[in-house]
Symmetry: C2
Subunit: 380 residues, 2 copies
């Protein structure tokens, strides 16, 4: 069995910072620029270099990181002035959100700030990709995540199980996610400690499942109750809100995390993003990654072990290509993963979670998951 040690832990500082802390840092950045201007200096804005050249896998921390390379943008430069202006208005708007406890989606801040600059024919933004880009610069510059800047992505994912949450910014609503029928709680896009308190967790581990249908299956079979676990259904690639909640349950409650996806490159990648972070969000692994997450299945070994040959699917050429890419990632270099991916490429097959229904509907809940988790049969 995975280790049991559910007890509330203190989170690191960068995790618990609230609106006032971040507002202060944004203000200092902006104030510094004003000072530069007053002193007749060419104002500059410093952020981190993005892209593969500054991304690496941190062997010790076991997650993807953004390196220390910096880039400094001067205002008095024809190529940089526009982006500088965009950075300033986004930083200013986020500062305003933080002071007033407001949040906005990244689409909203784009629309909110889009206008033609007075006395010119210049638009502040010509498309959302421009404001998105500046938001990432700001995250890196202030060394935090957009959620702490009052911004949010679209939410996705559901939570079920004996866990009590309090929404401190919403009338201190307190609710237990095992009392919401079979639907569960619709996970918010922002799960910051200042706003969402995880009051209590009564579980031995957290099971993260890829498909909404498997989430429903396990609830119908009373799996979370019988196995004393919390359940999160990600409905495909996990949204940032779901990842932040998974991370917090792991850090704050030492809750072991077990990931259950389809046995294919898409499923493996869902697992690896939860565990090690992603290259696109390399700077944010310390807020989102769960290095000790375990992968329980589906595996190609399962196919033979449980006699599921008849319900595998063929891998398409694109899947095989993707599998080969994953094999080369540092965080898939373990013997277990190399063997697993190799087997899939050789057999050119994939296996879905729901294929276990071929044994019987309740097989996954009564047999497959309990046995594998109890006996620590993970791909490692």
């Amino acid at each position: 069995m995975v280790e049991k040690k559910v007890k509330k832990q203190k989170l690191e500082d960068h995790e618990v910072e609230g609106n006032k802390d971040i507002a202060k840092r944004v203000y200092e950045k902006l104030d510094n620029i004003v000072t530069q201007i007053k002193n007749n200096h060419n104002p500059t804005f410093t952020t981190k270099v993005r892209g593969l050249s500054n991304v690496y896998y941190d062997e010790k921390k076991q997650f993807i990181q953004l390196g220390d390379k910096q880039v400094t943008r001067p205002f008095l430069n024809l190529g940089a002035a526009r982006k500088f202006m965009q950075t300033m208005i986004v930083a200013d708007k986020c500062h305003e959100y933080l002071l007033h406890d407001k949040t906005a989606s990244i689409r909203e801040i784009y629309y909110e700030l889009k206008h033609t600059v007075k006395g010119t024919k210049e638009n502040t933004f010509d498309g959302q990709e421009e404001s998105n880009d500046v938001i990432v610069d700001l995250e890196h510059s202030v060394n935090t995540i957009r959620e702490k800047l009052g911004l949010q992505a679209d939410p996705k994912g559901s939570l079920y199980g004996d866990i009590t949450l309090i929404d401190r910014k919403h009338e201190n609503d307190e609710f237990n996610a095992s009392k919401l029928g079979r639907g569960g709680w619709s996970i918010m896009s922002r799960i910051e400690p200042e706003e969402i308190e995880i009051k209590d967790v009564n579980a031995d581990y957290l099971l993260v499942v890829e498909t909404a249908a498997m989430y429903g299956r396990l609830i119908e079979e009373k799996f979370p109750k019988q196995n004393k676990c919390i359940l999160i259904g990600t409905s495909g690639q996990a949204a940032r809100g779901s990842r932040r909640l998974i991370h917090r349950l792991n850090k704050e409650f030492n809750l072991p995390v077990v990931v259950f996806t389809d046995g294919d490159p898409y499923g493996w990648y869902i697992y690896s993003v939860i565990k090690s972070g992603s290259m696109a969000l390399a700077a944010h692994s310390k807020f989102l990654a769960v290095p000790d997450a375990k992968f329980v299945g589906m595996t190609l070994t399962d196919v033979e072990h449980y006699g599921l040959e008849n319900v595998t699917e063929k891998m398409k050429d694109g899947d095989v290509k993707r599998a080969k890419e994953l094999m080369n990632y540092d965080w898939f270099k373990s013997a277990g993963w190399q063997k697993e991916i190799k087997l899939a490429i050789e057999k050119k097959i994939r296996i879905e979670q729901q294929a276990l229904a071929n044994k019987s509907l309740d097989f996954v809940a009564k047999e497959y998951l309990p046995k594998k988790i109890e006996n620590n049969i993970f791909v490692e």
Copy 2:
């Protein structure tokens, strides 16, 4: 303002039928076939003809319907025998689900029943499209929806507001969707009266919004409380579970339904499916449609009225083509809709819900929606 008359109503018989009712009908179908075989007749299975030739818009009921044309499949026919076999095993399996209060996703029933028929090289199914197809036949033959056969689609969508639900099949969990923080309830894929009781609704109307971000915005602005409404976020095209819940709130509680989407063909279609049903599910409108649903926006008139020209987006050629198609649908023939769609095609622009942030973040909640809803400014 939309009309207020929230009082629990009795639903029609076809809506409240439970597992035993449907199991009985499935059994009779199967028993009839056994009798035919025992009498040495060539057994037949009768269902409805699908496709455009049997689909029409019912002007009186104001939704899309499937006609009465039937098709009868004989077992002793080389072209029909395989499908006949598939229909029998799916019907038998659904009957088993209903007797044991089980449910399965359509992917699970496919996997559960997929095998090689003993003594042959014939697979029961060669792909899920084959089992899906037979499921629709069965729905039509038994005159119900798959949810009442124990089957389900993937859930999607969230519910927020002063509404109390009871999950009768899950420890009678009782919860109020205004007490779940800003996330709300994750709407299940099956919302059948036998299982999910809507105990109480304290609201003047139901607002259905297209995007998860707008759902979040309105909760942050305390719109549902201040305007005494229930909120459902569909996250794009509404899933069957969300549609069934919207339909039930309208039928069971006479709750007026107001739909709020982007002003583009995709948004209009989301609205029209909620209101009039869809051609693909023509047989199910009586379980899902809401003929008196109102469309509040976004509209092309809004663009001029609120000075949003700067935050419109260009319609792509595909959008224009789709808009022209919609203009020809019977359920978009009203003067209001013809004018709206024509205007969009002429200007070749679309307008998103979130573009209202250009006025201010809370504009949608404090100004736009309350004024339009109070003054009945709907596209009709």
